[in-house]
Symmetry: C2
Subunit: 238 residues, 2 copies
């Protein structure tokens, strides 16, 4: 596609792809870029489980981060203009290499998606537990995973094919950590479990503190409306 678009670009134009994997895209684009055109990959880390223009909303990028991965020979003025563009949409901007971006996103986005896709599939294939039981009792934690496991399959297939090395590296570390906890469960080692479960709370607090998630319990999910006036079994209003 870059080969087709290239000839139509004016001298001095800034071209930016917007996507979840960077190193592979930069490598594929580079040979097709006309002289005088600035190519600056960008990745706004924002969005929902829905895709396409209709899934957008005006506040989508506010206080989210947009990562730019300019090539080594990028024009600083062009990078600054693109940064300003994203800041005007409400985003914070950070620059890093494409390779580091792919590693960071492997852990903050790609691995979580792979795990979510896996566990939702696991639950659906059990013979001892029915699908209707999985759905009915999903409020115990499982339903959280189903949201990102409902993301666009085409996009996510391509993410894993394009960012294979970083994802496999993160998977290796994740598997070691899961084995450690599995062993603790098997041996009845409550201290190891308690230590791990206490440590992870700080990360949640950090994310809420910097405004990357809501402090409202349960993501601020709306409570169900009572289907009828609720009885007041303990009220003493006679």
């Amino acid at each position: 596609m870059a080969a087709e678009i290239g000839p139509h670009l004016k001298d001095g134009a800034i071209v930016s792809d917007v996507g979840s994997v960077k190193a592979a895209v930069a490598r594929d684009m580079r040979p097709h870029l006309p002289k005088g055109v600035h190519f600056i990959p960008a990745h706004p880390v924002a969005g929902t489980e829905h895709s396409g223009p209709d899934a957008g909303f005006p506040e989508l990028f506010i206080n989210r981060w947009c990562i730019l991965t300019p090539l080594e020979d990028a024009n600083p003025t062009a990078v600054e203009r693109l940064s300003t563009f994203w800041r005007m949409l409400g985003a914070n901007v950070e620059c890093m290499t494409a390779e580091h971006h792919d590693l960071v996103l492997a852990v903050t986005s790609h691995l979580p998606h792979l795990i979510a896709y896996t566990i939702v599939g696991t639950a659906d294939e059990l013979s001892a537990v029915t699908r209707s039981e999985v759905l009915n009792f999903s409020a115990g934690g499982f339903r959280d995973f189903t949201r990102i496991a409902a993301s666009d399959p085409t996009m996510w297939r391509d993410v894993f094919l394009a960012n294979k090395d970083a994802v496999l590296e993160m998977l290796g570390t994740f598997n070691e950590d899961l084995s450690k906890l599995t062993r603790a469960i098997r041996r009845g080692d409550g201290d190891t479990l308690f230590a791990q479960f206490s440590r992870t709370r700080a990360i949640r607090r950090g994310i809420v503190t910097i405004g990357q998630d809501s402090a409202t319990p349960d993501f601020g999910r709306r409570h169900a409306e009572p289907p009828r006036p609720m009885p007041r079994p303990y009220a003493s209003d006679e």
Copy 2:
């Protein structure tokens, strides 16, 4: 504790524990139950990442499921009275054996919590990616996992110690499924990835359809307020 409470219970009293693991509790309680007292374990599958009385709210149980696991010799009238109690709080009620409950919850609640605790720990221990990068770019999917990984460590340690067998069984299946997807990534097998990623969407749809999660994108998280009047780069209002 059951041994201490037992003598104070009136004949015909209904006693119910409320917790996430059933078979071990029933086994431990049984020898201490005075004659004429009905013991009926119950598990309302509802709640948030917060614990304790202050974390409750009036709609907490509405359209959530409460699972009762009466012992084989349970008194049907007592079971019906306890079911009515839960229905008056807005819950749906289902009865099953304690053993089946523990298997169902292992997949819909315990495994998701273990995976979330693991991945949040993995992200925090990487040397190539800083903690501040993990926090800043968490909106790519990771932040979803931090919510349940912020649950009460004492309670969750005890859940894994008490429901060890069912959790280990589910972990075995999960690991097989994760290996299958890892192999597909390593081999560049896009068809296997696409097939898995398409299948899991139906589960999300099912959960939303039966009212166990909101259809609003991103769990209905509130959008950030613009910190200042937003610029209108494309507006033609001059």
